[in-house]
Amino acid sequence: MLAIELVAQGLIQGSIYALVALGLTLVYGLLRILHVAHAALFTLGGYVGVLVCNASGSLALGFLIAALVAGFGGVAMFRLAYQPLLSKPPYVALIASIGLFIASEEAFRIIFGAQGMSFTNPALQQQLVLGWGLQFKLAEILVMVSTASIIGVLAWLQARTRIGIACQATVSDPQMAQSFGISLLKVRDINFFVGSALAGFAGVWVALLNNLVEPTMGSVPSYKALAIIVLGGLGSVPGTLAAALLLGVIEAFGTIYLGDILDRNAIAFAFLIAVLMVRPQGLFARS
């Protein structure tokens, strides 16, 4: 019984990780940049979601606006920060991203205060009893459902639509993609938009689950997201999802059984390093 609960907790947490990691893997797969500042969009989404929902009373509107704002924020980051640095060595974009990340965390703290914000009327808090002694908030169930459906849709889009295939081509062979008339810029914009919107979307979920948005909430999920994209195979949507869910579950079990030796974050990375030693190319990478 405890095991099932842990698995469920793990899947819930893993869903959040998946939403955040997806944006990261799309960017890394595309541009080989460790987009640390992605975390800022997650936090931004959380704040916007709470603000809009509190102002309008509609959670759905909060989700929508948060995703849009985060999405456009991501594109702005790409255009202003990364695009000019594409020709430079990779550490340049990484440090720029780090600078952006630190600055935005601080900006949130200065603008919104360090204590954070909450929903005036948090929705979806009703408990659902599922049998086997399992009991969840409606929000927790919906997080998993929405993640699964969104990622399913994305995977389908990537495989079946022109845009999706264009994205894949841009990742594997940008020059050839260009010669086929695919606009690299447009594809990159789309990638950033989608990935960032997902992060913003995840931010609102976390705000709802904890009923709190605070400036530093983006750091930990994004560090783990970095580990996840390595595990899941760069640019692979299904791989990232699998790795994220797996990590969530491993963490849930790990905190209980290994809590004396490692703290929660360390478990995620211990898992990562252990996997990499056995399979240096990552868990789900096609070698």
Partner: protein
């Protein structure tokens, strides 16, 4: 005077730390996001030994060896993974270190280690020794740059596949860089411990790792004078601008971003632009 001495000592320790990373990143091109771990290993080694009665100077070689040893292990592990995974792997090592240390009561757990005994050198003596170490590491760095080791490092940083085809044992050189860089980080850790007389695991976490990396990049990767100046300045930035105080991280983050955006070569790059020296090669970079 005491305040200034303390400040200079802080700067010296930061410079040691930054120069040690410069060996790995600046010379050999390996991006480490977990360098603070090795400073932490040296710091904890010195703390444990100091509390067990060892004199300060005796803790120095142990800190270096321990940090260097673990550096080699991490280095060996990192060599197995793809180059672009190195950053994330080192980041993982950093979290692992903090995570383990925080749960170990024998290492002070969440509260850290305090009441580190006095080093017995006096304020000025300690500062002088720290500065001496800085000078030594700087001299070592400059020597390496001029030697064939530096030339090989340079080549590896630029194009390691070509270096293999030129017969260079690339993994061995990377390990050498790692061993040197991490043991020197351990050295800075020992000084850190005795300077602060109190340490905790969170002083050697991810934020500290990216801070020191930023110093190296800000100064100009590979540039010894650039890194020295950047580390010295950035380590005491909040102390100099009290008014920044609350906004310090914002300024810091903003500076990093602006520097990367407009002068990826860091301060050294800027200097080269404003004071161009005669190019070593016709048509090449100055």
């Amino acid at each position: 005077m005491n305040y200034e001495i303390s400040l200079i000592t802080t700067m010296a320790i930061a410079v040691m730390f930054a120069l040690s990373l410069n060996l790995i990143t600046g010379f050999c091109g390996q991006i480490s996001l977990g360098h603070a771990t090795f400073q932490g290993i040296g710091a904890y080694a010195a703390a444990m030994l100091g509390k067990a009665g060892w004199p300060f100077l005796a803790t120095l070689p142990v800190s270096m060896v321990l940090a260097g040893l673990l550096g080699v292990i991490v280095g060996l592990a990192s060599l197995r993974v793809r180059a672009d995974f190195l950053a994330i792997t080192t980041m993982g090592v950093g979290f692992l270190f903090v995570g383990i240390v925080r749960q170990q009561e024998s290492l002070g757990g969440e509260l850290g280690v305090s009441s580190i005994p006095d080093h017995g050198l006096g304020r000025v003596g300690f500062m002088a020794l720290a500065l001496l170490m800085c000078a030594g590491i700087a001299a070592l760095s400059v020597y390496i740059k001029r030697s064939w080791m530096g030339r090989v490092f340079n080549g590896i940083a630029e194009d390691e596949d070509t270096m293999r085809v030129l017969g260079i044992d690339v993994p061995r050189y990377k390990l050498a860089a790692f061993a040197m860089g991490t043991s020197l980080a351990g050295l800075s850790g020992a000084f850190y411990t005795y300077h602060l007389t109190f340490i905790g695991a969170e002083s050697f976490g991810f934020v500290e790792s990216i801070t020191v990396l930023s110093m190296v990049v800000f100064g100009g990767i590979g540039s010894v004078p650039g890194v020295i100046i950047a580390a010295a300045l950035l380590s005491v930035l909040p102390a100099w601008f009290q008014v920044i105080g609350d906004y310090k991280l914002l300024v810091y983050g903003g500076l990093l971003f602006v520097m990367m955006r407009f002068s990826p070569g860091g301060m050294a790059g800027l200097a080269a632009r404003f004071f161009p020296t005669t190019p070593l090669v016709k048509g090449g970079k100055p």
